[in-house]
Symmetry: C2
Subunit: 220 residues, 2 copies
């Protein structure tokens, strides 16, 4: 499959699982940086190849085959991120940038070698789950957005759902890293802002950030 097709189904999949907006050609176009017309064309083509269902003016829906393809690409993306992070200690932004390209030129064989080498990890360095070789995500995600946490409790950072360099730079600067521990000290304005304590620093985050930082409760 071509790079264009792989990125297209992947973007649909991620829009469906992570975002609230509907999965119409226009929204996919925006994310891919192409015109609406191009996205509509592509949607029709992929429908004829049984990768998705397309009905005029309706949201796009991946078929099982399309979902499988998306998960296969996502698997490769996240395995690359895990490998580059481990070997070269590159930043979250850098590993994402490289993985975005490498994911399309990686055989299933090589993906399996990478996975094996890393001990078949279930999560990438962002905390995103890595689909297995059958295109299944077996892990149950119990994490919640920071905006939904409770004052006074301690949490472990489980996911940083972003592709944005600025965000990652901010995270790196403040110790906001997959696996690190934080205390939620205050929720402001109906959870539109959240104060946390990490490494003895107090940080106030607005909803742009608290909606994409996911955490798990701890027992302490």
């Amino acid at each position: 499959m071509s790079v264009a097709i792989e990125n297209f189904v992947k973007t649909i999949y991620k829009n469906d699982t992570n975002d609230s907006n509907d999965t119409k050609p226009g929204n996919i176009a925006k994310k891919l940086g192409i015109s609406n017309a191009a996205a509509t064309d592509m949607a029709k083509k992929l429908a004829s190849r049984n990768l998705l269902q397309y009905e005029k003016y309706q949201a796009l829906q991946l078929t099982d085959e399309g979902t499988k393809m998306a998960l296969n690409v996502i698997r490769k993306h996240r395995l690359w991120e895990a490998l580059l992070f481990k070997l070269f200690d590159m930043s979250l932004h850098e590993i994402h940038r490289e993985a975005e390209l490498l994911e399309h030129e990686t055989s299933n064989f090589l993906a399996d070698r990478i996975s094996e080498y890393l001990g078949n990890p279930k999560f990438d360095p962002h905390g995103d789950p890595i689909p297995n070789a059958n295109g299944e995500i077996t892990t149950i995600d119990t994490s919640i957005a920071l905006s939904n946490t409770q004052e006074g409790k301690t949490y472990i950072i489980s996911r940083l759902m972003s592709d944005d360099k600025e965000f990652f730079d901010f995270c790196a600067l403040n110790g906001l890293k997959y696996g690190n521990s934080i205390i939620v000290t205050k929720q402001f304005n109906k959870n539109k802002m959240t104060q946390i304590t990490i490494n003895n620093n107090n940080i106030i985050l607005n909803e742009d950030f608290t909606n994409i930082i996911y955490v798990n409760e701890t027992n302490y």
Copy 2:
């Protein structure tokens, strides 16, 4: 630059440095598996971009810029081969197959990280020299083809110049590996066949093989 262009200049470079046939569009077409017409078109386009010199019916000649691009792609190819070989113990054929794709989707930044991680190696697992970040091959190659060796002498395998699975499988089976030691026990029929001893086995190789296996003399 596109994959097509990178493979094109790389193929010209390799034809110039490794092969005896002239570097006309037809020969490049054959190696790339495209039509002569396509190769001629591409040659004209690359000439207009100052990557090579094109004159009707003449051999193609890379400009400095074209050569630099070729060496940059070759650097990435060989770094990938070295990394995959080291990490995953893949065969020479497998690492080549993957590198052929990955080489086009690798930033200079990532190439430098790979090189660094490997200790800036000067050779890949085939024994081919790895250009440095400036696109220079600093290593002086003193190796000779097995067909040009002398009876009774001991040599170290320095290069296996092939992309062929069958050849690599044969090599792997018989211990013909970069760095291994062999004794040339006999040269037959004006060096069209060569008998060597390796791991106490005698093997007779014909010129298909002795022309692509390179070795260095030892002092013993």
